[in-house]
Point group: C2
Chain length 321, copies 2
Protein backbone atom coordinates (compact mmCIF):
# COMPACT_ATOMS: atom_id res chain seq x y z
CA UNK A 1 0.00 0.00 0.00
CA UNK A 2 1.23 3.44 -0.83
CA UNK A 3 1.43 5.66 2.25
CA UNK A 4 -1.14 8.43 2.33
CA UNK A 5 0.48 11.62 1.25
CA UNK A 6 -0.28 15.22 1.91
CA UNK A 7 -1.27 17.81 -0.70
CA UNK A 8 0.74 20.69 -2.01
CA UNK A 9 -0.61 23.37 0.31
CA UNK A 10 -0.13 21.19 3.37
CA UNK A 11 3.36 20.28 2.18
CA UNK A 12 4.26 23.94 1.81
CA UNK A 13 2.70 24.91 5.13
CA UNK A 14 4.43 22.10 6.99
CA UNK A 15 7.90 22.07 5.48
CA UNK A 16 8.58 25.21 3.50
CA UNK A 17 6.62 28.04 5.16
CA UNK A 18 8.77 27.71 8.31
CA UNK A 19 11.83 28.35 6.13
CA UNK A 20 10.31 31.65 4.96
CA UNK A 21 9.19 32.85 8.40
CA UNK A 22 11.86 35.52 8.71
CA UNK A 23 11.28 36.99 5.26
CA UNK A 24 8.42 39.45 5.68
CA UNK A 25 7.92 39.91 1.95
CA UNK A 26 7.25 36.20 1.44
CA UNK A 27 3.95 36.44 3.36
CA UNK A 28 4.47 33.01 4.88
CA UNK A 29 4.39 31.59 1.33
CA UNK A 30 0.63 32.13 1.34
CA UNK A 31 0.87 34.58 -1.54
CA UNK A 32 2.15 33.68 -4.95
CA UNK A 33 4.61 36.53 -5.06
CA UNK A 34 7.55 37.50 -2.94
CA UNK A 35 8.18 41.19 -2.31
CA UNK A 36 11.84 42.14 -1.98
CA UNK A 37 12.73 45.55 -0.65
CA UNK A 38 15.67 46.82 -2.64
CA UNK A 39 17.66 49.97 -2.17
CA UNK A 40 19.58 52.38 -4.32
CA UNK A 41 22.98 51.59 -2.81
CA UNK A 42 23.01 47.95 -3.91
CA UNK A 43 22.60 45.79 -6.95
CA UNK A 44 20.65 42.63 -6.58
CA UNK A 45 22.70 39.68 -7.79
CA UNK A 46 20.62 36.82 -9.12
CA UNK A 47 21.61 33.30 -10.07
CA UNK A 48 19.51 30.30 -11.13
CA UNK A 49 20.82 26.74 -11.13
CA UNK A 50 19.07 23.45 -11.73
CA UNK A 51 20.13 20.06 -10.41
CA UNK A 52 18.57 16.83 -11.67
CA UNK A 53 18.75 13.45 -9.91
CA UNK A 54 21.05 11.09 -11.77
CA UNK A 55 22.63 13.97 -13.68
CA UNK A 56 23.93 16.46 -11.12
CA UNK A 57 23.69 14.30 -8.02
CA UNK A 58 23.62 10.59 -7.30
CA UNK A 59 20.04 9.27 -7.42
CA UNK A 60 20.36 7.79 -3.92
CA UNK A 61 22.01 10.86 -2.38
CA UNK A 62 20.76 11.84 1.08
CA UNK A 63 17.97 14.41 0.92
CA UNK A 64 19.87 16.77 3.23
CA UNK A 65 22.86 16.70 0.89
CA UNK A 66 20.66 17.26 -2.16
CA UNK A 67 19.27 20.37 -0.47
CA UNK A 68 22.77 21.57 0.41
CA UNK A 69 24.00 21.00 -3.15
CA UNK A 70 21.03 22.79 -4.72
CA UNK A 71 21.65 25.87 -2.58
CA UNK A 72 25.43 25.84 -2.57
CA UNK A 73 25.94 25.68 -6.31
CA UNK A 74 24.07 29.00 -6.48
CA UNK A 75 25.79 30.51 -3.45
CA UNK A 76 29.10 29.69 -5.10
CA UNK A 77 28.14 31.85 -8.09
CA UNK A 78 27.00 34.67 -5.84
CA UNK A 79 30.38 34.48 -4.05
CA UNK A 80 32.19 34.78 -7.39
CA UNK A 81 30.06 37.85 -8.06
CA UNK A 82 31.14 39.47 -4.81
CA UNK A 83 27.62 39.25 -3.41
CA UNK A 84 26.38 38.61 0.10
CA UNK A 85 23.51 36.11 -0.23
CA UNK A 86 20.23 36.75 1.54
CA UNK A 87 17.29 34.90 -0.02
CA UNK A 88 16.27 32.27 -2.54
CA UNK A 89 13.33 30.81 -4.41
CA UNK A 90 12.86 27.06 -4.71
CA UNK A 91 11.29 25.23 -7.66
CA UNK A 92 10.95 21.62 -6.56
CA UNK A 93 9.68 18.94 -8.96
CA UNK A 94 8.98 15.72 -7.10
CA UNK A 95 8.90 12.24 -8.62
CA UNK A 96 5.65 10.31 -8.53
CA UNK A 97 6.90 8.14 -5.66
CA UNK A 98 8.05 11.03 -3.46
CA UNK A 99 7.73 10.49 0.26
CA UNK A 100 7.02 12.96 3.01
CA UNK A 101 10.06 11.59 4.81
CA UNK A 102 12.28 12.66 1.90
CA UNK A 103 10.73 16.14 1.80
CA UNK A 104 11.13 16.51 5.57
CA UNK A 105 14.82 15.67 5.32
CA UNK A 106 15.24 17.93 2.29
CA UNK A 107 13.65 20.81 4.22
CA UNK A 108 15.92 20.06 7.17
CA UNK A 109 18.91 20.37 4.85
CA UNK A 110 17.63 23.73 3.59
CA UNK A 111 17.08 24.94 7.15
CA UNK A 112 20.62 24.01 8.20
CA UNK A 113 22.10 25.91 5.27
CA UNK A 114 19.81 28.89 5.87
CA UNK A 115 21.39 29.25 9.30
CA UNK A 116 24.88 28.59 8.01
CA UNK A 117 24.76 31.08 5.14
CA UNK A 118 22.29 33.65 6.51
CA UNK A 119 19.71 33.13 3.79
CA UNK A 120 15.97 32.63 3.80
CA UNK A 121 13.41 31.08 1.47
CA UNK A 122 11.18 33.72 -0.16
CA UNK A 123 8.98 31.71 -2.53
CA UNK A 124 8.88 29.09 -5.20
CA UNK A 125 6.83 26.33 -6.71
CA UNK A 126 6.29 22.64 -6.05
CA UNK A 127 5.16 20.35 -8.85
CA UNK A 128 5.04 16.69 -9.69
CA UNK A 129 7.09 15.21 -12.52
CA UNK A 130 7.12 11.83 -14.22
CA UNK A 131 10.90 12.35 -14.53
CA UNK A 132 13.63 12.51 -11.90
CA UNK A 133 13.61 14.86 -8.92
CA UNK A 134 14.55 18.28 -10.28
CA UNK A 135 15.42 21.32 -8.21
CA UNK A 136 15.93 24.85 -9.48
CA UNK A 137 17.13 27.45 -7.03
CA UNK A 138 17.14 31.15 -7.82
CA UNK A 139 19.40 32.79 -5.26
CA UNK A 140 19.55 36.50 -4.45
CA UNK A 141 22.52 38.39 -3.13
CA UNK A 142 23.47 42.01 -2.69
CA UNK A 143 26.55 43.89 -3.75
CA UNK A 144 27.37 47.60 -3.61
CA UNK A 145 25.86 49.32 -6.66
CA UNK A 146 27.96 48.73 -9.74
CA UNK A 147 30.64 46.80 -7.83
CA UNK A 148 29.57 43.26 -8.75
CA UNK A 149 32.35 41.05 -10.09
CA UNK A 150 31.85 39.43 -13.48
CA UNK A 151 33.87 37.26 -15.81
CA UNK A 152 34.72 39.93 -18.33
CA UNK A 153 36.95 42.28 -16.33
CA UNK A 154 40.38 40.57 -16.51
CA UNK A 155 43.21 42.36 -18.34
CA UNK A 156 46.47 41.14 -19.80
CA UNK A 157 49.05 40.89 -17.03
CA UNK A 158 46.54 40.06 -14.30
CA UNK A 159 47.49 37.23 -12.02
CA UNK A 160 45.36 34.10 -11.87
CA UNK A 161 44.52 32.75 -8.43
CA UNK A 162 42.36 29.96 -7.05
CA UNK A 163 40.91 29.21 -3.64
CA UNK A 164 41.25 25.96 -1.70
CA UNK A 165 42.34 22.80 -3.47
CA UNK A 166 41.42 21.73 -6.98
CA UNK A 167 40.14 18.37 -8.23
CA UNK A 168 38.93 16.93 -4.94
CA UNK A 169 35.34 16.77 -6.16
CA UNK A 170 36.15 15.02 -9.43
CA UNK A 171 38.18 12.42 -7.53
CA UNK A 172 35.50 12.35 -4.83
CA UNK A 173 32.89 11.42 -7.43
CA UNK A 174 35.02 8.37 -8.26
CA UNK A 175 35.06 7.60 -4.54
CA UNK A 176 31.27 8.02 -4.28
CA UNK A 177 30.94 5.63 -7.21
CA UNK A 178 33.13 3.09 -5.42
CA UNK A 179 36.05 3.39 -7.85
CA UNK A 180 38.47 4.53 -5.18
CA UNK A 181 38.43 4.93 -1.43
CA UNK A 182 38.75 8.27 0.34
CA UNK A 183 36.23 9.56 2.84
CA UNK A 184 37.81 13.02 2.57
CA UNK A 185 37.48 13.25 -1.20
CA UNK A 186 34.00 11.74 -1.19
CA UNK A 187 32.82 14.41 1.24
CA UNK A 188 34.44 17.12 -0.89
CA UNK A 189 32.25 15.91 -3.76
CA UNK A 190 29.05 15.36 -1.79
CA UNK A 191 29.08 18.61 0.18
CA UNK A 192 30.42 21.63 -1.74
CA UNK A 193 31.81 24.50 0.35
CA UNK A 194 31.01 27.71 -1.50
CA UNK A 195 33.48 30.48 -0.71
CA UNK A 196 30.84 32.84 0.63
CA UNK A 197 33.15 34.25 3.30
CA UNK A 198 35.61 35.39 0.66
CA UNK A 199 33.29 36.49 -2.17
CA UNK A 200 32.10 39.83 -0.73
CA UNK A 201 35.68 40.67 0.32
CA UNK A 202 36.79 40.42 -3.31
CA UNK A 203 34.83 43.55 -4.23
CA UNK A 204 37.35 46.22 -5.21
CA UNK A 205 40.18 43.64 -5.27
CA UNK A 206 39.31 41.13 -8.01
CA UNK A 207 39.00 42.26 -11.60
CA UNK A 208 37.10 39.11 -12.57
CA UNK A 209 36.09 35.90 -10.88
CA UNK A 210 34.14 32.71 -11.53
CA UNK A 211 33.39 29.67 -9.49
CA UNK A 212 34.88 26.37 -10.61
CA UNK A 213 31.82 24.31 -11.41
CA UNK A 214 32.65 23.01 -14.89
CA UNK A 215 36.33 22.32 -14.14
CA UNK A 216 39.41 24.51 -13.61
CA UNK A 217 40.50 24.63 -17.26
CA UNK A 218 36.97 25.29 -18.48
CA UNK A 219 36.14 27.98 -15.94
CA UNK A 220 39.46 29.80 -16.36
CA UNK A 221 38.66 29.57 -20.08
CA UNK A 222 35.30 31.24 -19.46
CA UNK A 223 37.01 34.21 -17.80
CA UNK A 224 39.61 34.38 -20.57
CA UNK A 225 36.94 34.23 -23.30
CA UNK A 226 34.71 36.81 -21.63
CA UNK A 227 37.72 39.10 -21.12
CA UNK A 228 39.04 38.43 -24.67
CA UNK A 229 42.32 37.15 -23.31
CA UNK A 230 44.40 34.02 -23.05
CA UNK A 231 45.26 32.38 -19.74
CA UNK A 232 48.19 30.20 -18.77
CA UNK A 233 48.24 27.81 -15.88
CA UNK A 234 51.33 26.13 -14.40
CA UNK A 235 50.23 22.71 -13.21
CA UNK A 236 52.95 22.54 -10.55
CA UNK A 237 51.30 25.53 -8.89
CA UNK A 238 47.77 24.10 -8.80
CA UNK A 239 46.93 23.39 -5.15
CA UNK A 240 45.83 19.83 -4.50
CA UNK A 241 44.88 18.15 -1.25
CA UNK A 242 47.08 15.54 0.39
CA UNK A 243 44.55 12.84 -0.56
CA UNK A 244 44.59 13.96 -4.17
CA UNK A 245 48.40 14.23 -4.22
CA UNK A 246 48.72 10.61 -3.11
CA UNK A 247 46.38 9.42 -5.84
CA UNK A 248 48.15 11.55 -8.46
CA UNK A 249 51.55 10.12 -7.44
CA UNK A 250 50.22 6.60 -8.08
CA UNK A 251 48.10 7.48 -11.15
CA UNK A 252 49.35 10.60 -12.92
CA UNK A 253 46.64 10.21 -15.57
CA UNK A 254 44.20 11.44 -12.90
CA UNK A 255 45.57 14.96 -13.55
CA UNK A 256 43.05 15.06 -16.40
CA UNK A 257 40.22 14.74 -13.93
CA UNK A 258 41.76 17.15 -11.43
CA UNK A 259 42.15 19.93 -14.00
CA UNK A 260 39.13 19.09 -16.13
CA UNK A 261 36.55 17.70 -13.73
CA UNK A 262 33.78 19.83 -12.30
CA UNK A 263 32.07 20.44 -8.99
CA UNK A 264 34.97 22.02 -7.08
CA UNK A 265 33.03 25.18 -6.20
CA UNK A 266 36.27 26.93 -5.49
CA UNK A 267 36.81 30.38 -6.98
CA UNK A 268 39.17 31.40 -9.77
CA UNK A 269 40.17 35.05 -9.53
CA UNK A 270 41.92 37.63 -11.70
CA UNK A 271 43.87 40.29 -9.75
CA UNK A 272 46.52 42.84 -10.54
CA UNK A 273 49.96 42.35 -8.96
CA UNK A 274 49.22 45.51 -7.05
CA UNK A 275 46.18 43.95 -5.38
CA UNK A 276 47.96 40.73 -4.47
CA UNK A 277 48.53 41.75 -0.87
CA UNK A 278 44.91 42.84 -0.54
CA UNK A 279 43.78 39.45 -1.86
CA UNK A 280 45.95 37.64 0.68
CA UNK A 281 44.59 39.80 3.50
CA UNK A 282 40.99 39.19 2.37
CA UNK A 283 41.58 35.45 2.09
CA UNK A 284 43.15 35.33 5.52
CA UNK A 285 40.21 37.23 7.01
CA UNK A 286 37.84 34.83 5.25
CA UNK A 287 39.71 31.75 6.44
CA UNK A 288 40.28 30.59 2.87
CA UNK A 289 43.60 29.67 1.27
CA UNK A 290 44.44 31.20 -2.08
CA UNK A 291 47.14 30.14 -4.52
CA UNK A 292 48.55 31.81 -7.60
CA UNK A 293 48.50 29.38 -10.49
CA UNK A 294 49.12 31.51 -13.59
CA UNK A 295 48.29 34.70 -15.43
CA UNK A 296 46.17 36.28 -18.13
CA UNK A 297 47.88 37.36 -21.32
CA UNK A 298 46.98 38.71 -24.72
CA UNK A 299 45.66 36.03 -27.02
CA UNK A 300 43.03 33.35 -26.81
CA UNK A 301 42.54 30.03 -25.07
CA UNK A 302 44.04 28.38 -22.00
CA UNK A 303 47.64 27.12 -22.08
CA UNK A 304 48.86 24.59 -19.54
CA UNK A 305 52.50 24.17 -18.57
CA UNK A 306 54.05 21.45 -16.43
CA UNK A 307 57.30 22.60 -14.82
CA UNK A 308 57.35 25.32 -17.46
CA UNK A 309 56.93 22.95 -20.42
CA UNK A 310 53.86 23.46 -22.63
CA UNK A 311 51.41 20.63 -22.25
CA UNK A 312 48.63 19.50 -24.52
CA UNK A 313 45.37 18.56 -22.98
CA UNK A 314 42.11 17.28 -24.36
CA UNK A 315 39.41 19.72 -23.74
CA UNK A 316 37.55 19.42 -20.86
CA UNK A 317 35.02 20.76 -18.59
CA UNK A 318 31.66 19.43 -17.76
CA UNK A 319 29.41 19.08 -20.81
CA UNK A 320 25.84 19.96 -19.86
CA UNK A 321 24.19 17.72 -22.46
Amino acid sequence: MAPRRIGEFELIARYFAPLAREFAGAGGLRSDNAFLAADARHDLVVKTDTIVAGVHFLPDEKAELVAARALRVCLSDLAAGGATPYAYQLALSLTRDWTERWVARFARGLAADQRRFGIVLCGGDTTGTPGPTTISITAFGKVARGKGIGRAGARAGDELWVTGTIGDAALGLLAAQGELKSAFLEKRYRLPQPRTTLGPRLVGIARAAADISDGLLADVGHIADASRLAARIERDCVPVSLAARRLLAASPQLWGRVLGGGDDYELTIAVTARNRAALLTAASAAGVTVTRIGAFTKGKGVALTVSGQPQRFAQSGYAHF
Copy 2:
Protein backbone atom coordinates in the same frame (compact mmCIF):
# COMPACT_ATOMS: atom_id res chain seq x y z
CA MET B 1 22.05 9.02 -37.35
CA ALA B 2 21.47 11.57 -34.68
CA PRO B 3 21.99 15.11 -35.99
CA ARG B 4 25.09 16.82 -34.67
CA ARG B 5 24.09 19.13 -31.90
CA ILE B 6 25.65 22.18 -30.45
CA GLY B 7 26.99 22.54 -26.91
CA GLU B 8 25.61 24.53 -24.04
CA PHE B 9 27.69 27.67 -24.54
CA GLU B 10 26.95 27.78 -28.25
CA LEU B 11 23.27 27.17 -27.54
CA ILE B 12 23.19 30.06 -25.08
CA ALA B 13 25.15 32.36 -27.38
CA ARG B 14 22.97 31.59 -30.37
CA TYR B 15 19.48 31.48 -28.90
CA PHE B 16 19.40 33.01 -25.44
CA ALA B 17 22.05 35.74 -25.34
CA PRO B 18 20.10 37.75 -27.97
CA LEU B 19 17.13 37.72 -25.59
CA ALA B 20 19.27 39.34 -22.87
CA ARG B 21 20.87 41.98 -25.10
CA GLU B 22 18.89 44.87 -23.65
CA PHE B 23 19.56 43.94 -20.04
CA ALA B 24 22.93 45.48 -19.20
CA GLY B 25 23.26 43.61 -15.89
CA ALA B 26 23.03 40.24 -17.63
CA GLY B 27 26.41 40.76 -19.31
CA GLY B 28 25.26 39.04 -22.47
CA LEU B 29 24.77 35.88 -20.36
CA ARG B 30 28.53 35.46 -20.33
CA SER B 31 28.64 35.82 -16.56
CA ASP B 32 26.96 33.46 -14.17
CA ASN B 33 25.21 36.20 -12.29
CA ALA B 34 22.71 38.86 -13.27
CA PHE B 35 22.98 42.27 -11.66
CA LEU B 36 19.66 44.05 -11.14
CA ALA B 37 19.67 47.70 -10.23
CA ALA B 38 16.97 48.27 -7.66
CA ASP B 39 15.76 51.48 -6.12
CA ALA B 40 14.28 52.62 -2.86
CA ARG B 41 10.92 53.61 -4.31
CA HIS B 42 9.98 50.11 -5.47
CA ASP B 43 9.67 46.58 -4.21
CA LEU B 44 10.87 43.83 -6.45
CA VAL B 45 8.12 41.27 -6.96
CA VAL B 46 9.41 37.76 -7.64
CA LYS B 47 7.59 34.67 -8.79
CA THR B 48 8.88 31.21 -9.76
CA ASP B 49 6.80 28.68 -11.70
CA THR B 50 7.72 25.34 -13.19
CA ILE B 51 6.02 23.64 -16.11
CA VAL B 52 6.71 20.02 -17.03
CA ALA B 53 5.90 18.38 -20.38
CA GLY B 54 3.01 15.97 -20.03
CA VAL B 55 1.99 17.53 -16.70
CA HIS B 56 1.48 21.25 -17.32
CA PHE B 57 1.44 21.25 -21.09
CA LEU B 58 0.73 18.70 -23.79
CA PRO B 59 3.89 16.77 -24.69
CA ASP B 60 3.49 17.66 -28.38
CA GLU B 61 2.69 21.34 -27.79
CA LYS B 62 4.38 23.79 -30.17
CA ALA B 63 7.65 25.11 -28.76
CA GLU B 64 6.51 28.73 -29.18
CA LEU B 65 3.41 28.01 -27.09
CA VAL B 66 5.46 26.23 -24.43
CA ALA B 67 7.62 29.34 -24.15
CA ALA B 68 4.55 31.58 -23.94
CA ARG B 69 2.98 29.39 -21.26
CA ALA B 70 6.16 29.24 -19.18
CA LEU B 71 6.40 33.04 -19.14
CA ARG B 72 2.73 33.88 -18.90
CA VAL B 73 1.93 31.74 -15.87
CA CYS B 74 4.49 33.85 -14.00
CA LEU B 75 3.38 37.17 -15.50
CA SER B 76 -0.14 36.32 -14.36
CA ASP B 77 1.06 36.11 -10.76
CA LEU B 78 2.97 39.38 -11.10
CA ALA B 79 -0.23 41.00 -12.43
CA ALA B 80 -2.15 39.76 -9.39
CA GLY B 81 0.56 41.32 -7.24
CA GLY B 82 0.10 44.70 -8.93
CA ALA B 83 3.57 44.53 -10.45
CA THR B 84 4.88 45.72 -13.78
CA PRO B 85 7.07 42.90 -15.15
CA TYR B 86 10.53 43.68 -16.46
CA ALA B 87 12.86 40.66 -16.43
CA TYR B 88 13.08 36.91 -15.93
CA GLN B 89 15.48 34.03 -15.45
CA LEU B 90 15.07 30.78 -17.35
CA ALA B 91 15.97 27.31 -16.07
CA LEU B 92 15.57 24.99 -19.04
CA SER B 93 16.02 21.22 -18.69
CA LEU B 94 16.12 19.57 -22.10
CA THR B 95 15.29 15.94 -22.83
CA ARG B 96 18.02 13.73 -24.22
CA ASP B 97 16.51 13.93 -27.72
CA TRP B 98 16.21 17.71 -27.82
CA THR B 99 16.68 19.32 -31.19
CA GLU B 100 18.11 22.67 -32.10
CA ARG B 101 14.98 23.30 -34.13
CA TRP B 102 12.86 23.00 -30.98
CA VAL B 103 15.13 25.34 -29.02
CA ALA B 104 15.11 27.86 -31.88
CA ARG B 105 11.30 27.91 -31.89
CA PHE B 106 11.19 28.05 -28.09
CA ALA B 107 13.53 31.08 -28.15
CA ARG B 108 11.36 32.67 -30.85
CA GLY B 109 8.36 32.27 -28.55
CA LEU B 110 10.27 33.93 -25.71
CA ALA B 111 11.33 36.78 -27.98
CA ALA B 112 7.76 37.44 -29.11
CA ASP B 113 6.53 37.62 -25.52
CA GLN B 114 9.47 39.80 -24.49
CA ARG B 115 8.26 42.37 -27.00
CA ARG B 116 4.62 41.93 -26.06
CA PHE B 117 5.10 42.24 -22.30
CA GLY B 118 8.17 44.49 -22.15
CA ILE B 119 10.38 41.97 -20.39
CA VAL B 120 13.90 40.72 -20.96
CA LEU B 121 15.88 37.60 -20.10
CA CYS B 122 18.53 38.26 -17.43
CA GLY B 123 20.04 34.84 -16.77
CA GLY B 124 19.35 31.22 -16.07
CA ASP B 125 20.63 27.71 -16.56
CA THR B 126 20.35 25.03 -19.23
CA THR B 127 20.75 21.38 -18.30
CA GLY B 128 19.97 17.97 -19.70
CA THR B 129 17.46 15.67 -18.07
CA PRO B 130 16.53 12.02 -18.59
CA GLY B 131 12.96 13.11 -17.78
CA PRO B 132 10.52 15.34 -19.65
CA THR B 133 11.29 18.90 -20.75
CA THR B 134 11.05 21.05 -17.63
CA ILE B 135 11.04 24.83 -17.54
CA SER B 136 11.25 27.01 -14.46
CA ILE B 137 10.85 30.73 -14.90
CA THR B 138 11.61 33.24 -12.16
CA ALA B 139 9.96 36.49 -13.18
CA PHE B 140 10.72 39.92 -11.74
CA GLY B 141 8.34 42.85 -11.53
CA LYS B 142 8.29 46.19 -9.79
CA VAL B 143 5.64 47.78 -7.63
CA ALA B 144 5.69 50.98 -5.59
CA ARG B 145 7.34 50.28 -2.22
CA GLY B 146 4.93 48.54 0.14
CA LYS B 147 2.04 48.70 -2.34
CA GLY B 148 2.22 45.12 -3.66
CA ILE B 149 -1.08 43.23 -3.60
CA GLY B 150 -1.17 39.91 -1.78
CA ARG B 151 -3.79 37.32 -0.95
CA ALA B 152 -4.18 38.20 2.71
CA GLY B 153 -5.68 41.70 2.55
CA ALA B 154 -9.41 41.02 1.99
CA ARG B 155 -11.87 42.03 4.71
CA ALA B 156 -15.43 40.98 5.48
CA GLY B 157 -17.80 42.93 3.25
CA ASP B 158 -15.37 43.25 0.36
CA GLU B 159 -16.78 42.52 -3.06
CA LEU B 160 -15.40 39.64 -5.10
CA TRP B 161 -14.66 40.33 -8.76
CA VAL B 162 -13.09 38.40 -11.63
CA THR B 163 -11.62 39.44 -14.97
CA GLY B 164 -12.56 38.04 -18.38
CA THR B 165 -14.45 34.76 -18.61
CA ILE B 166 -14.03 31.71 -16.40
CA GLY B 167 -13.63 28.06 -17.38
CA ASP B 168 -12.56 28.52 -20.99
CA ALA B 169 -9.19 26.89 -20.35
CA ALA B 170 -10.61 23.83 -18.59
CA LEU B 171 -13.02 23.29 -21.47
CA GLY B 172 -10.26 24.17 -23.93
CA LEU B 173 -8.11 21.37 -22.51
CA LEU B 174 -10.92 18.96 -23.41
CA ALA B 175 -10.88 20.47 -26.89
CA ALA B 176 -7.09 20.11 -27.14
CA GLN B 177 -7.50 16.46 -26.11
CA GLY B 178 -10.08 15.97 -28.86
CA GLU B 179 -13.02 15.47 -26.49
CA LEU B 180 -14.94 18.44 -27.85
CA LYS B 181 -14.54 20.86 -30.72
CA SER B 182 -13.98 24.60 -30.25
CA ALA B 183 -11.07 26.47 -31.75
CA PHE B 184 -11.84 29.42 -29.46
CA LEU B 185 -11.73 27.39 -26.25
CA GLU B 186 -8.70 25.42 -27.37
CA LYS B 187 -6.78 28.65 -27.94
CA ARG B 188 -7.88 29.94 -24.55
CA TYR B 189 -6.23 26.87 -23.06
CA ARG B 190 -3.12 26.84 -25.22
CA LEU B 191 -2.26 30.52 -24.98
CA PRO B 192 -3.01 32.12 -21.60
CA GLN B 193 -3.57 35.90 -21.59
CA PRO B 194 -2.20 37.22 -18.30
CA ARG B 195 -3.92 40.43 -17.21
CA THR B 196 -0.74 42.46 -17.16
CA THR B 197 -2.46 45.61 -18.39
CA LEU B 198 -4.80 45.57 -15.39
CA GLY B 199 -2.48 44.32 -12.62
CA PRO B 200 -0.48 47.51 -11.99
CA ARG B 201 -3.68 49.58 -12.12
CA LEU B 202 -5.08 47.58 -9.20
CA VAL B 203 -2.53 49.09 -6.83
CA GLY B 204 -4.45 51.22 -4.31
CA ILE B 205 -7.76 49.77 -5.52
CA ALA B 206 -7.68 46.03 -4.75
CA ARG B 207 -7.37 44.82 -1.18
CA ALA B 208 -6.30 41.36 -2.30
CA ALA B 209 -5.93 39.53 -5.60
CA ALA B 210 -4.80 36.21 -7.01
CA ASP B 211 -4.61 34.79 -10.45
CA ILE B 212 -6.88 31.88 -11.31
CA SER B 213 -4.44 29.09 -12.02
CA ASP B 214 -5.76 26.27 -9.84
CA GLY B 215 -9.46 26.99 -10.57
CA LEU B 216 -11.91 29.71 -9.53
CA LEU B 217 -13.19 27.99 -6.38
CA ALA B 218 -9.69 27.02 -5.27
CA ASP B 219 -8.10 30.41 -5.91
CA VAL B 220 -10.94 32.36 -4.28
CA GLY B 221 -10.47 29.89 -1.42
CA HIS B 222 -6.79 30.80 -1.23
CA ILE B 223 -7.65 34.49 -0.78
CA ALA B 224 -10.34 33.64 1.77
CA ASP B 225 -7.96 31.38 3.74
CA ALA B 226 -5.08 33.86 3.65
CA SER B 227 -7.45 36.64 4.75
CA ARG B 228 -9.12 34.39 7.40
CA LEU B 229 -12.52 34.90 5.80
CA ALA B 230 -15.23 33.03 3.96
CA ALA B 231 -16.20 33.80 0.37
CA ARG B 232 -19.49 33.29 -1.42
CA ILE B 233 -19.88 33.03 -5.16
CA GLU B 234 -23.17 33.22 -7.08
CA ARG B 235 -22.80 30.94 -10.07
CA ASP B 236 -25.31 32.91 -12.14
CA CYS B 237 -22.91 35.87 -11.95
CA VAL B 238 -19.79 33.99 -13.09
CA PRO B 239 -18.89 35.32 -16.55
CA VAL B 240 -18.58 32.61 -19.19
CA SER B 241 -17.82 32.91 -22.88
CA LEU B 242 -20.43 32.26 -25.53
CA ALA B 243 -18.65 29.02 -26.49
CA ALA B 244 -18.68 27.87 -22.87
CA ARG B 245 -22.31 28.91 -22.41
CA ARG B 246 -23.38 26.73 -25.33
CA LEU B 247 -21.56 23.72 -23.94
CA LEU B 248 -22.98 24.32 -20.46
CA ALA B 249 -26.53 24.52 -21.84
CA ALA B 250 -26.07 21.09 -23.42
CA SER B 251 -24.03 19.56 -20.56
CA PRO B 252 -24.66 21.31 -17.24
CA GLN B 253 -22.30 18.90 -15.47
CA LEU B 254 -19.47 20.83 -17.15
CA TRP B 255 -20.03 23.55 -14.53
CA GLY B 256 -17.77 21.45 -12.31
CA ARG B 257 -14.92 21.97 -14.75
CA VAL B 258 -15.71 25.64 -15.30
CA LEU B 259 -15.63 26.48 -11.60
CA GLY B 260 -13.04 23.91 -10.55
CA GLY B 261 -10.68 23.61 -13.51
CA GLY B 262 -7.43 25.49 -13.68
CA ASP B 263 -5.40 27.45 -16.19
CA ASP B 264 -7.72 30.45 -16.67
CA TYR B 265 -5.04 33.00 -15.73
CA GLU B 266 -7.76 35.54 -15.08
CA LEU B 267 -7.61 37.54 -11.86
CA THR B 268 -9.86 37.30 -8.83
CA ILE B 269 -9.98 40.54 -6.88
CA ALA B 270 -11.26 41.76 -3.50
CA VAL B 271 -12.39 45.41 -3.47
CA THR B 272 -14.47 47.58 -1.19
CA ALA B 273 -17.81 48.84 -2.52
CA ARG B 274 -16.24 52.28 -2.34
CA ASN B 275 -13.53 51.28 -4.82
CA ARG B 276 -15.94 49.65 -7.25
CA ALA B 277 -16.00 52.65 -9.59
CA ALA B 278 -12.22 52.88 -9.52
CA LEU B 279 -11.98 49.19 -10.43
CA LEU B 280 -14.32 49.68 -13.37
CA THR B 281 -12.31 52.67 -14.57
CA ALA B 282 -9.04 50.75 -14.26
CA ALA B 283 -10.48 47.74 -16.09
CA SER B 284 -11.78 49.95 -18.85
CA ALA B 285 -8.39 51.66 -19.23
CA ALA B 286 -6.75 48.21 -19.32
CA GLY B 287 -9.19 46.87 -21.90
CA VAL B 288 -10.25 44.05 -19.59
CA THR B 289 -13.80 43.18 -18.54
CA VAL B 290 -14.49 42.68 -14.85
CA THR B 291 -17.54 41.06 -13.24
CA ARG B 292 -18.72 40.97 -9.65
CA ILE B 293 -19.43 37.38 -8.65
CA GLY B 294 -19.75 37.45 -4.87
CA ALA B 295 -18.34 38.75 -1.62
CA PHE B 296 -16.11 38.00 1.33
CA THR B 297 -17.76 37.44 4.70
CA LYS B 298 -16.80 36.38 8.19
CA GLY B 299 -16.27 32.65 8.47
CA LYS B 300 -14.29 30.06 6.59
CA GLY B 301 -14.45 28.30 3.22
CA VAL B 302 -16.08 29.07 -0.10
CA ALA B 303 -19.87 28.84 -0.49
CA LEU B 304 -21.45 28.55 -3.91
CA THR B 305 -25.02 29.58 -4.67
CA VAL B 306 -27.00 28.97 -7.86
CA SER B 307 -29.80 31.53 -8.28
CA GLY B 308 -29.40 32.18 -4.58
CA GLN B 309 -29.72 28.53 -3.52
CA PRO B 310 -26.76 27.02 -1.65
CA GLN B 311 -24.99 24.44 -3.74
CA ARG B 312 -22.71 21.62 -2.70
CA PHE B 313 -19.64 21.02 -4.73
CA ALA B 314 -16.84 18.53 -4.53
CA GLN B 315 -13.61 20.23 -3.77
CA SER B 316 -11.74 21.05 -6.65
CA GLY B 317 -8.83 22.91 -7.89
CA TYR B 318 -5.79 21.58 -9.59
CA ALA B 319 -3.88 19.07 -7.47
CA HIS B 320 -0.16 19.53 -8.04
CA PHE B 321 0.78 15.91 -7.34
